[in-house]
């Protein structure tokens, strides 16, 4: 779900950076407002690397296998660190694996990062009651994973199909967006279940990891 270099016109790439910059600035500002912002940096950095590695786990979905996006889980665990973490993860992917791109880094960061921040707010809703914390963590973990991938797919499809330098008519464009969304529906469910299982696991084993939210 990363748009490679060369697919988008320069204006869209530039617009991606222009919008991603204030979102990054806002995230860093919220991080700096913490009592000791530097204390969280090693934690966020190692978790950024860990999320990057966990996304290599392949889930068998015959006849193939899928790897997870994990931006919902990132939002749930890292809070405001999620956006810079995604920016760094995408930068690594573009530089080391040529997956995504350097010109499209801003656009891709928005596609993955904005839903991650949305998931952070969704996952925080588990604290509306102190009762049944395990179930609440699971339910809002599922929603965080499900919604984040859904929003990312929607943004990816709309940006790619409306900006790609190809002469697509409205009907083809709409059909492609619906097909992409439908094709990703099973992934959204798998991502939701996986996020719920991991958040419940963390809640039981290391609840401090969910302190951000």
């Amino acid at each position: 779900m990363h748009i490679p270099d060369g697919f988008l016109p320069a204006t869209v790439c530039a617009a991606g950076y222009v919008v991603a910059a204030p979102v990054t600035w806002y995230s860093l500002r919220r991080i700096n407002q913490k009592e000791n912002p530097r204390a969280d940096i090693p934690k966020a950095s190692l978790l950024t690397a860990a999320f990057f590695v966990v996304s290599w786990i392949h889930i068998p979905v015959p006849p193939t296998s899928v790897h997870l996006v994990l931006n919902g889980l990132l939002g749930a665990v890292l809070g405001y660190f999620a956006f810079p973490a995604i920016l760094i993860g995408l930068f690594f992917q573009a530089v080391m694996f040529q997956h995504g791109g350097l010109t499209t880094l801003g656009v891709n960061a928005l596609i993955m990062g904005l839903p991650a921040l949305l998931s952070y707010y969704i996952f925080r809703l588990r604290n509306i009651t102190d009762k049944r914390q395990r179930i609440m963590t699971g339910v809002f973990g599922f929603l965080a994973g499900f919604v984040s991938v859904g929003v990312s797919v929607g943004m990816f499809a709309v940006i790619l199909l409306t900006s790609i330098p190809a002469d697509l008519d409205v009907v083809t464009e709409r059909a492609a967006i619906y097909t992409l969304a439908l094709a990703h529906l099973p992934l959204m469910v798998i991502e939701g279940v996986f996020t719920a299982l991991v958040t419940v696991f963390l809640w039981r084993v290391r609840p401090q990891l969910l302190d951000n939210t």
Binding site: G6, L28, K43, L47, P60, V198
Partner: protein, 262 residues
């Protein structure tokens, strides 16, 4: 798992010796200028400039081929799909499918821009140690938090990757061979992912303590890490002119094309 984007950083080409800050500015300008190109005539110039820069870098051809393998899958999907769905001018029919001129042009544009930008990106990050490039980005104004996070994440990426590899091997040795999707299998993989996160979190606490002991968070005297010569500056001006030339050339070509159509 080893990530060898800078495995040829030891070579001695002019691009290897170029000040990393100037190289970053110059090659990023070229990359963005390439993404600006929409006229087909400029594509030939783009390929030539890319080839010249890659040859000057002395990076092996095999390195380029290896790096192209993974992203080319996405490109293949577009190459196979777009000529049949984009545009109105049918140039050939293959069974029920119509091959369209506009789609073919779009594929040519996307593919050449994609490969050219990817190649320049390889030169940018393949001709200096990765950490040096990050430090150059810091010197150019990348926020401290982002720099620290990037350096730390990069430092532990291989280690955490090795942890995952060991844990997956252990799971296989204990009989976990999930070939079909199941709720049980997904649960085990979620615990695997969760365990990686917990291990990394615990390790980060030790890393933070070690960093504090070494003075992390205290003001440091800025050190002149990079020193640019007049040759670095001339190279930067030259490459910026190339980038501006691409934008100007593309605008002129498109104006000419519009005038011919009218």
């Amino acid at each position: 798992m080893r990530i060898g984007i800078d495995e040829y950083a030891y070579l001695g080409s002019p691009l290897h010796h170029w000040d990393p800050r100037y190289k970053f500015i110059g090659l990023m300008a070229v990359i963005f200028a390439f993404s600006f190109v929409r006229d087909l005539r400029m594509l030939a110039v783009m390929v030539t400039v890319t080839a010249v820069i890659y040859i000057i870098s002395k990076l092996p051809f095999s390195f380029w081929l290896t790096r192209l393998r993974y992203p080319s899958f996405f490109l293949m999907v577009v190459v196979l799909l777009l000529p049949f769905v984009s545009g109105h001018t049918i140039i050939m029919s293959i069974g029920p499918l119509d091959l369209r001129q506009e789609g073919l042009i779009a594929v040519l544009l996307i593919a050449i821009r994609f490969v050219s930008i990817l190649t320049i990106g390889l030169v940018l990050f393949g001709t200096a140690p990765f950490l040096t490039t990050i430090k150059a980005m810091r010197a150019l104004g990348l926020p401290a938090i982002l720099t620290d996070m990037t350096l730390l994440a990069f430092r532990y990426l291989n280690e955490i990757g090795d942890d995952l590899h060991k844990m997956e091997t252990s799971m296989k040795l204990r009989g976990f061979h999930e070939r079909r999707f199941s709720r049980h299998g997904l649960g085990i993989l979620a615990w695997l992912g969760g365990s990686i996160l917990v291990r990394s979190y615990e390790q980060s606490e030790w890393v933070y303590k070690a960093m504090i002991v070494r003075g992390y968070g205290h003001a440091v005297h800025p050190r002149e890490e990079f020193k640019a010569s007049s040759r670095d500056l001339i190279a930067l001006i030259a490459i910026l002119l190339v980038a501006v030339g691409f934008i100007a050339g593309d605008i002129l070509c498109r104006r000419e094309a519009m005038a011919l159509l009218q």
